[in-house]
């Protein structure tokens, strides 16, 4: 009984951390720029492919491949932001949604042509492929690493957003963009950097989470609902909100599927509808 509960909790936590790492950047960019980016998952998939290519084709160690995924995807994000996304700030939601769907579709086609339609797995270092024993129960070491990584990224973001000058500017711009501009914050540069940061973390999440959410060309479409749910429930522009939301959703989903498999994904959607109706702006939302 306790073993089952711990197993559910452990796998739920690992799932939650992947959801968090991929989604948190989306919430920050949506909160900051009001840009509904449905292509966010495609950036995560790109990070996954970078890790796969680096570890499988180039033979680079996993610990080099992860930062490489962050940097590559962040650069790609910055380019996309400068070229196109920038022109859509302030446009109506429908155009933003449609443009990001267009981006998502092109990414799916590109991934299929480049890597084929099948699932890809990165090479995992030997240190992470075994089991760890906690309280007399064996857990996969890789999932323990995922949980640690999720908490580490939360801490890093908290330091970055809460303790640095750039973070201060981001917080100011989320709260009141006009006022931030008026006191001399270069929001153009800030938006590019934030978009790059958000997509970069997603890329990292795609790479780290390849074991939980498998890397296929349609990744960005399949898990889109989950990512958006985490952001909507957590609240836009927050880094703790999505963490809490991901925890709820991850644990509830794993528990639901483990205990009552015939009901599948009912629990997630039920919980989401309930939370959104009670708090339309999410747990920590600045605005809905």
């Amino acid at each position: 009984m306790i073993t089952a509960a711990l197993t559910i909790l452990f796998h739920g936590l690992a799932f939650a951390m992947v959801l968090y790492i991929v989604s948190v950047g989306l919430g920050i960019t949506m909160g900051l720029m009001n840009f509904a980016n449905l292509a966010h998952g495609a950036f995560a998939a790109a990070g996954g492919y970078v890790v796969v290519m680096a570890t499988r084709s180039l033979g680079l160690p996993f610990w080099v491949a992860l930062p490489a995924a962050f940097v590559t995807v962040a650069l790609a994000g910055a380019v996309v932001e400068r070229l196109v996304v920038r022109t859509l700030y302030g446009a109506d939601e429908l155009r933003q949604v449609l443009f990001s769907i267009a981006l998502l579709f092109m990414a799916i086609a590109g991934f299929t042509l480049a890597f084929g339609p099948l699932q890809q797995q990165p090479e995992i270092p030997a240190a992470l492929s075994g089991q760890v024993t906690l309280g007399g129960i064996d857990f996969p070491a890789y999932r323990a690493f995922v949980i640690v990584a999720g908490v580490a990224i939360l801490a890093a973001l908290w330091l970055l957003i809460g303790r640095t000058r750039m973070g201060m500017r981001i917080r100011a711009a989320v709260d009141n963009r006009n006022m931030a501009e008026a006191v001399g914050v270069d929001t153009r540069l800030l938006f590019t950097l934030t978009f790059a940061l958000g997509t970069g973390i997603a890329g990292l999440g795609g790479g780290i989470g390849a074991d939980v959410l498998s890397i296929t060309p349609t990744y960005g479409q399949e898990y889109l609902v989950l990512f958006l749910i985490v952001v909507a429930v957590g609240g836009l522009g927050s880094i703790f909100g999505p963490f809490l939301a991901a925890l709820c959703i991850g644990v509830v989903d794993v528990a639901g599927k483990y205990l009552i498999p015939e009901f599948g994904a009912f629990f997630i959607y039920g919980v989401v509808i309930a939370i959104l109706l009670a708090k339309p702006a999410g747990f920590f939302g600045v605005r809905s």
Partner: protein, 341 residues
Amino acid sequence: MKSLSVSYQGAAAASTWRGLAMGRGGSDLVIAVLLGLGALATLLFGEAYWLLAAQVAITMIFALSVDLLVGFAGIVTLGHAVFFGLGAYAVGIASVELGWTEPLSALLLAGAVSALLGAATGVLVLRTRGLGQLMLTMAFASLVYEIANRAKPLTGGADGLQGMIVSPVAGLFEFDIFGLTAFLYTLAVLIVVVVFAVLMTRSPYGRSLVGIRENRVRMQAIGTGVQRRLLSIYIVSAALAGIAGALLAQTSQFVGLNVLHFSLSGEILIIVALGGAGRLWGALLGAVVFTLFKDRLSALDPAYWYFWLGLLLAVIVLFAPKGLIGLVDRLLALLHRKEAA
């Protein structure tokens, strides 16, 4: 005096005609005539395309339902397939389980069932706006998809609903393998829906929806029951989407889970934007172009289809935000300017 009034009337008629030709009405007229000719040509010479034409007509009805919601009332949705799919399953299950095979009454049943779900979810969806609204529509659609997937005894789950029987339309016209009945039947329903939608959008009620989209606070201030109107258009749109889904089930005599899938909700939104949101004839044009385009390209390779669809959509969003009908508008204005010069 008499001749004066006649010439005055003549001038008035000519100026309305010119006004029509260069303004928005002109584009509507041009598209209506082209679509009518296309339907006629398909009927007379396009035997091989009757089934595809029925699919186009169904997509047109679905696109109209979404345009009324998104383009006119300004409600965003990423889950409208839920109503389309529910309509399809309603006629499918009614036929298999209850032996309700009469097509016209089944169509009304589908519309009513979808309208009921629209009323139930609309109350909740319309409490939120923007991103919250997108989320809730997606969450409801995902929930219903999951229910249909799990309720195997009723829906057939991932295998689809088999063994559906549809009686001849009006007791006379049997559904044939060439799709002639399917084509004419869907066309007839389409015409009724188009007339209904045109009349509705021109009515004071339709204009008030546009007013709510443009400035909700002001509409509230002049005494419009904003929430009531939004809910009513949500229900109407759900019913029309349900009828479109029912037509698909009846003409293909099969219902698969894909009628509820997220990608269908995305596609229909793309169709409306492609044609031009907020313009009924734009949505109709978008449905034709998209369905034909998809039919050609997805035959090659789904990956290519996704690429071209993405590219087309990006170009439309960035360079022609008013959609194809916006391009027709500009073309007509250009022609008119040349004529005047």
